[in-house]
Symmetry: C2
Subunit: 328 residues, 2 copies
């Protein structure tokens, strides 16, 4: 079985590759478990830090149809399409966002259509497709009204994937992801970057600025949960997807205030007091347009799962990235 | 004031051009009424049958960026973008549909963005963006779930136009149109073509086949009403569009059975008996996925209007296209 992962050098991409290599097999379109023989890891920069004979590391511009021809062939059984530029970046640079977040997806789907092999396809969509007047809890039939170019591009991908799937060009699944936290590393240009920063930086002994008010409600998923749902999304038989190819993921609905409370509970006052609210109208406008809670009935019926508790999400981060913090 | 109409040689395009030339003026972006000095009428084939010094007839491939450069310039104040291939055609020929219904719109928006002039833009969307499990009456916040490539392409246009408008590249309005009936002329490849045929052909002394069951509920708008709403959509100040750039139009909700009853009422048994039900699974699948009734609250608040009664819609058609029928 040959698998392609785009955005492989990103945070989720790396975790997914690790999980796929460890797991060693996936279901094919007939529902038969197959050993992964080749895992193509593609990104703008080459993926580093892995050593596995099944791994084939490629890099290049994902929006370039020439590059895509070398990336996907008739042997490609499954694609995890994670490549994207993040929300604030797509907002700052309209052309870059359209190119990477939309044109690349369209070109990749076109490449597959021309091959005629109908591989499985799992991609990540975003709650940024929602906006405007929203109920407290968003149902699966809530209209999309993106308030950002990022959300627009993700919604266009979702429409395209659904139509390519309906026509039998691809066996697609788009998982509409909550904000993923806690991410390791440095802040990025995602408008939701603070959701990780307000936990990660204080635990690392640094001050952290939260750009939105304490009462802001976020819809979160931990990195481990995200990977588990991506693989679950791949394994589902296409026939089960009777209510569509775009699935609002379940998640944990929590206010910024409760997140900081959980940090205080876990790590004490000194750590929690390192978070300072300093509102940014630009970030607040984007994040404030995202719903803080979803019914996700379709996803739950399909067996997707979510984190139960933010204390556990913090513990997961500490356990993986700050093991010394546990010893102190 | 310089206006562009794409799809000018189509049924709605011709009527719109006629209405604009008669009207002679439109509001500019500042809300000031301006005389129409140039009306560019663009289509694949040249528009014929008009004689007016303000009219400039151009033709070519609307998906070709080179052609678009000659079509829109810094003087273009307003665009009515009606060019499209119809639903069944987009379903039969995926590439053609993507090219004319989506890529052309994207290229035209890109041309405008690069000019930096932010013209007014009115386009037609479609109820074909809806599908799946639907309530009896569709509200403005109903999610889009197109069951056809045509609906997918229209929904992608709507998303793109909303984002280009939000960013100030264009002052866009997308009117999500009911099925337009009664159209003159011959049946076309629109899945909804029968909605006109079952009235038009019997009145013309011909048999007509209805491919959907009598209880099928349609959401209709007469041609005159459609033109009036397109112009109303143009005239609305952008500031009023606080709930978005995509507007579900009001319409007349009626079953095929009631349409035939109205035909019987107007033209008698002999005419009405020329309609025969012969179900087509392909057409039924597309048309059956479209909702038969909409709340259209946003549109009503914005002053868009609808036909009150299908008898009047038939009378409008007879009056315009079959005046001799009135005399008999």
């Amino acid at each position: 079985m040959k698998i392609l992962v785009t955005g492989a050098a990103g945070f989720l991409g790396r975790r997914l590759i690790n999980a796929l290599l460890q797991r060693g097999s996936l279901s094919d379109r007939q529902g038969v478990s197959q050993a992964i023989s080749t895992l193509v890891a593609f990104d703008l920069m080459p993926l580093a830090g892995f050593s596995d004979s099944r791994l084939k590391v490629l890099c290049g511009d994902i929006a370039d149809p020439e590059v895509l021809r070398g990336l996907v062939d008739a042997e490609t059984d499954s694609i995890f399409h994670l490549a994207a530029v993040v929300s604030s970046q797509a907002e700052q640079d309209f052309e870059l966002g359209m190119r990477i977040n939309f044109a690349a997806t369209q070109n990749l789907l076109e490449r597959i259509r021309r091959l005629g092999t109908c591989p499985k396809w799992v991609m990540t969509s975003s709650v940024a497709v929602f906006g405007g007047q929203l109920p407290e809890q968003v149902e699966d039939d809530q209209v999309w009204a993106p308030q950002s170019s990022y959300g627009t591009q993700k919604a266009m991908n979702d429409l395209l994937l659904a139509d390519y799937s309906r026509r039998g060009f691809v066996d697609g699944r788009s998982l509409r992801m909550p904000t993923i936290a806690v991410r390791p590393g440095k802040p990025n240009l995602a408008a939701s970057s603070f959701a990780s920063s307000i936990i990660r930086e204080p635990l690392n002994g640094q001050e952290s600025v939260c750009p939105v008010p304490l009462e802001t409600r976020l819809w979160l998923m931990s990195p481990a949960q995200a990977i588990s749902n991506l693989i679950h999304g791949h394994e589902l038989p296409g026939e089960m997807l009777r209510r569509g190819r775009v699935i609002n993921m379940p998640g944990l609905s929590i206010t910024v205030e409760k997140m900081i409370d959980a940090l205080r509970q876990t790590a004490g006052d000194e750590v929690a007091n390192r978070v300072r609210i300093e509102r940014s109208p630009a970030i607040e406008k984007i994040v404030g347009s995202w719903p803080g809670s979803f019914a996700s009935s379709y996803a739950r019926n399909l067996g997707f799962t979510h984190d139960q508790d933010f204390d556990d999400v913090i513990a997961q981060f500490v356990d993986e990235y700050l093991p010394q913090a546990l010893e102190s």
